[in-house]
């Protein structure tokens, strides 16, 4: 493969705090040279030149919370459609939840997912393994052997690890292998019958509510267990002011604790469910406006380490039903970047900080090397246009599922190219599989 030179780019590398005009040379799938001092004219080799035209060039996004539906429910998402969806969103690394059918709770299944993913080969896919057998929350899985086969963390997916004894032992045991335990932080007894955040909106709609404190209750309990065990703990998709404050304090205390959130929790509030919009039925449910603002503040001050898409493909049958019967969740890979960029456009975050939450932030939590533009690293890259006005159109998603609460919404930011190990895996200009509506008024 000829070396490729990406020139005339705005280089964004949160790893080295680089934000400058420059160029990046890829040789043999790895970054050979990068920076403002790469003199394009001085390169003597026969290189393929990509003129980025002033667009942003950043490390490929690292999405630490994605659900696939393969094995088991391939009509909603396969590992192939998932990867196509991811790279169209600028994502080059995903970590997948174990809640498939069968559940990924055994070494052979971890290896099966890894092998299937490699056959598609568009990105780095790292499976999580189930924290407990069959996600029942009772017996621990073979943590050591699963970690050795490639599991990057342990989680019961969309279910909270409810039993404090089980959680205590998981934290103690997994810490031996340096792997995080990832919690869906919600007290299940308080959430059992609910489908929206308790409060005026749920009351007006006549929907059973889940009190917002169900989240912080579980996190406070887990933090006590972290103090007891010293285990690595990660709270997924935090969504309430109280939970973020609890994590802020735990970090100040020096506990080995991290957390992520997902775009709906900083871009939407509970009013998005009015009209019984099942695409906005999520778990945890969308929160009050004050909580949404706290999520933005938590991202800005670094309390929240990562933004994950929480990609959750569901079909029409799961969503075209009365609200309380709808399966919670939304797809998110292809809206991750444009929705997150709103934080920059609104002035809540610097672009480099936002990219950090989407790249090295999650990579560090999972102990992965990616997420930087360092020379010698794999050339996993995204080139994007941060200001480009777009309208989210779920019908054009590459994901097999279209359940997005952002469908039809205007946004700013678009992926132009995605590169995985030096190879272009998404190219907007070559992407003629779908109508090019936005080009008409370009």
């Amino acid at each position: 493969m000829r070396p490729t030179l990406y020139k005339n780019a705005r280089l964004l590398d949160p790893g080295t705090r680089l934000d400058a005009k420059g160029a990046l040379l890829v040789r043999d799938g790895r970054i050979a040279e990068v920076g403002p001092a790469v003199f394009v004219d001085a390169i003597q080799e026969d290189v393929e030149v990509v003129d980025c035209g002033g667009r942003c060039l950043a490390p490929g996004l690292v999405d630490m919370r994605v659900q696939t539906r393969e094995p088991g429910e391939e009509h909603m998402e396969t590992l192939a459609s998932l990867q196509h969806s991811a790279v169209a969103g600028g994502v080059t690394t995903v970590a997948t939840l174990p809640n498939t059918n069968p559940i990924i709770d055994d070494v052979s299944l971890v290896e099966f997912v890894e092998r299937l993913a490699q056959e598609v080969g568009l990105l780095n896919l790292h499976p999580y393994a189930a924290a407990t057998k069959r996600l029942k929350g009772e017996e621990m899985t073979e943590i050591g052997m699963l970690a050795a086969s490639g599991a990057v963390g342990f989680t019961d997916g969309t279910k909270a690890i409810a039993d404090p004894v089980v959680m205590r032992r998981l934290l103690s045991y997994a810490s031996m292998f340096g792997k995080p335990v990832i919690q869906h932080p919600e007290e299940p007894a308080l959430a059992r019958e609910g489908c929206a955040t308790e409060g005026e909106t749920a009351t007006r709609l006549g929907l059973p509510g889940i009190p917002a404190c169900a989240e912080v209750m579980m996190i406070e309990r887990d933090l006590s267990l972290v103090r007891l065990t010293g285990g690595r703990y990660h709270a997924a998709h935090v969504s309430t002011a109280a939970a973020i404050e609890a994590i802020r304090r735990a970090k100040a205390e020096g506990l080995p604790v991290t957390c992520d959130t997902a775009p709906p929790y900083f871009a939407l509030n509970e009013l998005a469910v009015v009209g019984y919009r099942t695409f906005a039925r999520l778990s945890p449910p969308l929160r009050a406006e004050s909580d949404r603002r706290a999520v933005v503040a938590g991202l800005a001050d670094g309390t929240i380490d990562a933004i994950a898409s929480d990609h959750n493909p569901e079909d029409q049958d799961s969503k075209r039903v009365p609200f309380a019967q709808a399966v919670p969740g939304a797809v998110g890979l292809e809206t991750l970047l444009p929705i997150s960029l709103a934080l920059v456009h609104e002035g809540a975050m610097q672009l480099l900080d936002l990219i950090e939450r989407l790249t090295v932030g999650p990579a560090r939590i999972l102990g992965l090397e990616g997420g930087t533009l360092a020379a010698g690293a794999w050339a996993d890259l995204v080139v994007f246009e941060p200001d480009r006005a777009v309208r989210i159109d779920a019908a054009r998603f590459r994901s097999k599922s279209k359940n997005s609460p952002f469908d039809g919404k205007p946004a700013q930011g678009r992926v132009w190219r995605t590169v995985y190990r030096g190879r272009t895996v998404f190219d907007l200009d070559a992407d003629d599989s779908r109508p090019r509506r936005e080009h008409a008024h370009a």
Binding site: T203, G275, Y276, V321, P322, A324
Partner: protein
């Protein structure tokens, strides 16, 4: 029968000359003229229903389907009578929850019925929002006969008609809604309607039976009957469902009746001419004492049932007449 609704200008408006929508999915969003229009029409039907010959021909050739996903006798019968007295053909369909579990979805059912060209669907469903979902998928008018804990608009309309006929007006009245507000669609529809009409609403219940944020709907919240009923004109009791009585929401029937059951003693603090209502079916000795429920000078419970038929006739007439009108909007 007078011709009820004159076709108006192309823009639908709430000027009181008609009901401007194709559906009745809830009270929330209606205006005072919309409600007055329906109540005025219903007043006329009360008289018609007291005649020996009760049959009109407004709905001749029209088909009405009562689609009940949840058991109901009185509401279904009331709609059936209303449809028949207007000369329409009425079919009752009870869809048991078990057959839904066999695979047919709510939308499948809606599409199947839609293909039979009904003119109106009267729908009751155990889930909030289910009736709205169904209304989005069919061509005919849809009337919400109760969806989950969301709304039961014809109940609120019949309550309003009952009160208006006794008190002459709704504005300025003090109304206490007592009992399981949390799970009650009747309470929500009544809170909306009474507030729109200028009455003042209080809710009276233990905190376990009040939904969070209810005060944001413009009601005063009371936890004891003495303060909640003080000086009120109307006492509306809600049904406490059996499954909520034992331990999870209130400790026992005995304790619930002690603190929240309506009896002569608790009623002392209300106005001397206070009237008592209940959407039925009543749990005697749980939320209401028989002496109070059967007191013909104060209890409007039987009158509510009579008004129910009249109100549903008014709603059916308005919606089915609107179907041919270009100005009728989806609610």
């Amino acid at each position: 029968m007078t011709s009820a609704i004159a076709p108006g200008p192309a823009t639908a408006s709430s000027d009181g000359s008609r009901y401007p929508y194709r559906h009745l999915l809830g009270i929330e969003g209606l205006t005072r003229p919309d409600i007055n229009f329906l109540l005025d029409r219903a007043d006329g039907f009360v008289e018609q229903n007291r005649q020996v010959d009760k049959k009109a021909s407004t709905l001749r050739g029209r088909t009405l389907i009562n689609l009940f996903f949840e058991n109901s006798t009185r509401t279904r019968t009331s709609f059936e009578l209303a449809g028949k007295r207007l000369g329409g053909d009425v079919i009752n369909m009870s869809v048991s929850t078990s057959s839904i579990k066999k695979g047919e979805t709510l939308i499948d059912t809606a599409m199947t019925l839609n293909a039979m060209h009904p003119d109106a669907l009267v729908v009751r469903h155990a889930e909030s929002g289910a009736v709205q979902l169904l209304a989005e998928k069919v061509n005919c008018s849809v009337i919400n006969a109760g969806d989950g804990s969301h709304e039961h608009p014809t109940q609120a309309l019949l309550d309003a008609l009952t009160i208006r006929r006794r008190k002459g007006h709704l504005e300025g009245l003090e109304v206490a809604i007592c009992g399981d507000v949390s799970h009650s669609r009747v309470a929500r529809s009544n809170i909306h309607l009474l507030s729109i009409m200028g009455a003042r609403v209080r809710v009276v219940a233990p905190p376990t039976l009040l939904p969070s944020g209810i005060e944001r709907m413009g009601v005063a919240v009371h936890h004891d009957m003495a303060s909640g009923l003080a000086g009120c004109d109307i006492v509306m009791m809600l049904r406490l469902q059996t499954e909520r009585m034992k331990g999870s929401y209130v400790p026992s029937i005995r304790e619930y009746f002690r603190y929240y059951g309506l009896d002569e003693e608790k009623l002392q603090v209300a106005k001397p001419d206070a009237l008592i209502m209940h959407p039925g079916p009543m749990n005697r000795g749980v939320e209401i004492d028989s002496l109070v429920a059967d007191d013909i000078s104060r209890s409007l419970i039987r009158e509510q049932v009579e008004m129910g038929v009249a109100v549903r006739m008014a709603v059916l007439e308005a919606l089915v007449t609107n179907q041919t009108e270009p100005w009728a909007k989806n609610q």
